[in-house]
């Protein structure tokens, strides 16, 4: 179909992140209208579509901390032509990875059994809960990642610059002012 105006299709998700990167995406404010002229959204917390279909760009916030994160990430990699790791958690594991050199069981006991504020003193074991991994992994350690957009979260201007570059077919520039690990 020769639809010259075909919009770029974007999917986003948050794995082991805090939704801060997504909040920062919304911080592009009224430029969201310009963005919606150029793109349409597939799976993302903004649309509430549950599964990712074929997309041009996939944007992943957060690291991989459990089996569900791994499934979602694989689905994104399989469906997205270009995969972007957004934010420190996706790129290094970040704060969730603070648990990485603590034994998982010790961690659970501390949080659910020993912490004075907990009620019920029970480690959650509902079969519906995704299986936690021993560590939180940056997404590039699990699938191939094409671009990295740093920051905790990346500022809205960096996201805007990055996205417009990518959408308009330019190599995204994340030069010195836009490159920040914090």
């Amino acid at each position: 179909m020769a639809d010259e105006k075909r919009k770029i299709r974007i999917a986003t998700c948050s794995l082991a992140g805090c939704f801060g990167c997504h909040t920062s995406m919304l911080d592009i404010d009224e430029r969201l209208f310009d963005l919606l002229e150029m793109v349409e959204f597939d799976r993302t917390p903004f649309t509430d579509i549950k599964h990712c279909g074929p997309c041009d760009i996939g944007i992943v916030e957060g690291g991989v901390s459990n089996a569900e994160n791994a499934h979602v990430l694989k689905e994104f990699r399989e469906n997205c032509k270009v995969l972007v790791a957004i934010g420190s958690c996706a790129i290094t594991g970040n704060v969730p990875a603070l648990r990485n050199n603590i034994d998982l069981w010790d961690c659970f006991q501390e949080v659910y059994l020993y912490d004075p504020g907990t009620e019920g003193k029970q480690i959650p074991n509902d079969p519906e809960l995704p299986l936690p991994f021993d560590k939180v992994y940056p997404i590039y350690e699990v699938v191939k990642v094409d671009y990295f957009l740093h920051g905790c979260p990346p500022p809205a201007n960096a996201i805007w610059k990055f996205l417009t570059d990518l959408i308009q077919g330019r190599q995204p520039e994340t030069g010195h002012e836009l490159l920040r690990y914090d």
Binding site: S88, T92, N94, V95, Y140
Partner: protein
């Protein structure tokens, strides 16, 4: 008599006993480095400063300059190698920049920016490392130590206390504290010691000072690593230095 070398084609004068690094910095030519600090004897451990001198790769912070030496420094190949070294330093420790008090003031981080490090690339080790908060004024967080030995050199050569040392070899190398308990609080280290202020990363932090300067207004928010390092050199140079001031 003043002899010269060339660095990337530029003629750079040097005096006896100067290394390639000394001559370069004095002439305002930047060679990336982390474990070198002009105030201390060179140590040669981080390898970021490797250049090609007369066709051989050498650490410029330890290699004496010699007349007519042809040095190649700022090439894509060497900078790629440097980036890989920085990436290895990142994955070999636990560097959670957004949660680190040193963020924005950290030379490891600034080296990542300078070398356009887009991701740590390698698999993270997430090694178990110790945090020592026993000292009333100083934190020691080994998660962020890059084993540059600047604190070791400062404590030994300037403070004359030898509070720090490096123990074991290879991947097991780690910073140790010279007290019976191994805790910093049981040493004579004082917050005014030189060793408390030379760490290029956030491994040695002064307590209650972490956020006096807000993020976004810190050292490397204002300048790049080369700018900082070239100014650092100027501060230690005598007025009538080798380049005449």
């Amino acid at each position: 008599m003043i002899s010269t070398i060339t660095i990337d084609g530029k003629t750079v004068p040097f005096t006896e006993e100067q290394t390639i690094m000394d001559a370069a910095l004095a002439a305002g030519v930047y060679i990336p480095h982390l474990c070198h600090n002009p105030e201390f004897k060179p140590h040669g451990s981080c390898k970021l400063c490797v250049v090609e001198a007369n066709g051989r790769n050498v650490t410029s912070c330890t290699m004496p300059a010699s007349p007519g030496m042809v040095v190649v420094n700022d090439t894509p190949e060497l900078n790629e190698d440097r980036k890989a070294l920085v990436q290895m330093l990142f994955v070999e420790g636990n560097h959670i920049c957004p949660a680190c008090e040193a963020t924005g003031n950290c030379q490891l981080q600034a080296a990542g920016y300078y070398l356009h490090m887009q991701s740590p690339h390698f698999m993270h080790f997430y090694p178990p490392r110790r945090v020592d908060a026993s000292h009333p004024d100083i934190f020691l967080d080994l998660n962020r130590c890059i084993l540059c030995e600047l604190c070791v050199r400062a404590s030994r050569d300037i403070d004359k206390k030898s509070v720090f040392g490096i123990s074991s070899r290879g991947i097991d190398s780690h910073l140790v504290v010279n007290s019976e308990s191994g805790r910093l609080g049981d040493t004579s280290m004082a917050v005014t010691d030189k060793a408390a202020h030379v760490c290029p990363t956030g491994a040695i932090l002064i307590k209650r000072k972490g956020y006096t300067v807000p993020m976004g207004k810190r050292l490397f928010d204002q300048k790049t690593l080369p700018e900082f390092h070239l100014e650092q050199q100027k501060r230690v140079e005598p007025e009538d230095g080798p380049d005449g001031g």
